[in-house]
Amino acid sequence: MRSLHLASVSALTMAAASLGSAAQAEDLTLCWAAWDPANALVELSKEFEAQSGHTMGFEFIPWPNFADRMLNELNSGGKLCDLLIGDSQWIGGGAENGHYVKLNDFFDAEGISMDDFAEATVYAYSTWPKGTPNYYALPAMGDANGWFYRKDWFERDDIKAAFKEAKGRDLAEPKTQKELLEIAQFFQGREIDGNTVYGASIFTERGSEGITMGVTSALYPWGFKYENTPGSYDMEGAVNSPEAVEALEFYKEFYETATPPGYTNSYMGESLDAFKSGQVAMAMNWFAFFPGLFADPDVGGDKIDFFVNPPQNQEGSTLGGQGISVVAYSDKQDAALEYIKWFANPDVQAKWWELGGYSAHNSVLNDPGFKDSAPFAGDFLQAMGSVQDFWQEPAYAELLIAMQKRLHDYIVADQGTAKEALDALVEDWTEVFEDEGKL
């Protein structure tokens, strides 16, 4: 009933708006990645169009090309995007190279307080230098890497019995990374309904950030640190610590013993394809996709459930998610700021969650009904409590490309050892920071 009501109201206001304010109406373009939440944002933004009289255009770029294309756009001083929901790691470059408008004055003037947003998201999506009250974005979409599985398979008696016999415990959502692997290995190569199925699909993509996002989901629970002391760029012994080596070896074992063949260059899309086509029992992916998966006619509903990235030595999830920024090259910054002001509104944030976007607003997250509003809502809160992000340095792309190469060389191309890969990574990163003048 609620959406119906909203729809008719917005139809009315739209009519009113088209009569009224034509004078300053702007054509705003918002750029983001092309994925499920983006479609929800289109729907949500109709209300903004109706209220403000501005029209919204959208430019959604698929994940594998998103960083490439948008950073290229920013670096060329392009005017394609007025608003950009840019990935968390871009904030350093966005701020230091002057791509993003600094929002502090605007927040103060409009009474938008960053205290209203979940602390982890403000830290990750909005601030540069990290943790200082210098804001270049408003948290738009909280996200983390999580897991989902075929609940219908997990609940089948024959499978349960077989698991119990093989592993000596009950088949259930894994409590540690090692349990996760054990379950995946159990399913690997098993016959279910006449098809050979596999353990889990994990991220192994080479071109953009895929394999790094996958591997860090193992590194963080093992206690991985980028630096010995934060801000020191002192990486020897942290990046290649024994725990990191163990975690990396774990991921490689996972890749070799519990994933479907051919998933050697797979990221979000491939992970979803593998799950939807019934090849795998479990899959890793961003929470952003969970509403869509839950609604899937073939594998959603009763057949699916979700769990947070399991801990090992500690809890840890790879951070996803983005903040929304105003692009400094835009000619329509005022209208763009209007959008951000509207978006920060608690009512809008509530509807954002309802439509499938992950609001980072405390009024939504702290709502007593939030945990039960979706089967993955509780997991989301838990994940956001222990998220870690990749480097957010202006040189993040160079750091990422180095890591992609080292990880893919070791895991997929099977070259060298985990220790060698991480040692080489420390060298690569040191060279980048030397070029940057930070070491």
């Binding site: 470059g93 051919g262 260059n265 394809d273 070259q415």
Partner: protein, 315 residues
């Protein structure tokens, strides 16, 4: 007056002809006709090339607006030529070049030879065979990626059907051993028709009377093939190799869509690596030096090759 090709052109035109013509002089017309093209070539090709050379001696980064640009002399070149990873990329490129040309020449020539038997409907089938090379390499690469997918793609099932192997038992794009071959397969699929067309032109350029004379001399068919057909087609074949060589040295779109350079760096051809340096890491100065090295390599190899080609033609 500046010494441009256009003015030279005008001067070269005999004055007697020029005087006979009303309206604009030949000199002016030559200038007007050639001028815009020269200008465009200068703007889009020459000026950027000079700029690239200049940048290649700096540590410029195109994504850092305020950063001071330092002259680093030959350091970029030194770094590239001593980087073992780049030599691996060169090797991958060489592997790709050699085998694509090998297969395309082999299959292309055979096809041309067969088509030249002038069976009924050979025109129609030639046109059909030619289709793949007219398509967009990026779209083709993207779709072959789908075809190569072990569980949901077609390729493995077709191989499985003929060999009895389990379709899930091998991964064309994911295995270090197979990936370099999978890009060779796609390129061969796409570009064999090119070699075929050129060979066909070569075969058709051989006048019938040469074979007739050989027949009179009672030369065997096999002998005719090696003493007439092959030598006569050779210049054409070499031309095809030149064009394929240049194109595949530049290869980017097809392979980037197929493997993105993976697994690891197994299929990271030089162009893919260059793109990472220039447009992902934004090491513009370094990438410029890299670009110049590639340009000099392809230009040098092509020049040597053209000399050889001309020698063969003269024979």
């Amino acid at each position: 007056m500046p010494d441009t090709p256009a003015t030279r052109a005008a001067q070269a035109t005999p004055p007697s002809v020029a005087r006979k013509i009303k309206g604009l002089s030949d000199r002016a017309i030559a200038w007007i006709f050639v001028g815009p093209t020269i200008f465009l070539l200068l703007a889009i090709n020459i000026f950027p090339l000079i700029w690239t050379i200049r940048l290649s001696f700096t540590d410029f980064k195109a994504n850092r607006a305020g950063r001071e640009i330092k002259n680093v002399g030959l350091r970029n070149y030194e770094r590239i030529l001593t980087d073992s990873d780049i030599w691996l990329n060169m090797q991958a490129t060489a592997h790709f070049l050699f085998w694509t040309i090998f297969f395309q020449v082999l299959i292309g020539f055979t096809l041309a030879y067969l088509i030249n038997k002038k069976f009924k409907g050979n025109d129609l089938w030639t046109t059909i065979i030619v289709l793949p090379m007219m398509l967009s390499p990026a779209v083709v690469g993207n779709f072959w990626k789908f075809l190569y997918q072990p569980q949901i793609g077609l390729f493995n099932y077709v191989i499985a059907f003929f060999t009895g192997k389990d379709p899930s038992s091998f991964e064309m794009l994911g295995s270090v051993q197979l990936a370099p071959w999978s890009i060779v397969i796609v390129d061969t699929w796409m570009w064999t028709p090119f070699v075929m067309l050129i060979c066909l032109a070569g075969l058709r350029s051989i006048p019938d009377y040469i074979y007739e004379a050989a027949e009179v001399d009672r030369a065997s068919k096999l002998r005719q093939f090696f003493t007439i057909t092959i030598p006569m087609v050779l210049p054409f074949l070499m031309l095809a190799v030149l064009f394929r060589g240049i194109e595949n040295f530049k290869m980017f779109d097809l392979v980037v869509q197929l493997t993105g350079g993976g697994p690891g760096s197994t299929t990271e051809l030089t162009s893919i690596n260059l793109k990472r340096e220039a447009f992902e890491k934004w090491r513009t100065g370094y990438a410029s030096a890299y670009a110049i090295i590639l340009f000099v390599t392809v230009f040098g190899l092509a020049s040597i090759y053209v000399k050889a080609l001309n020698k063969v033609k003269e024979r």
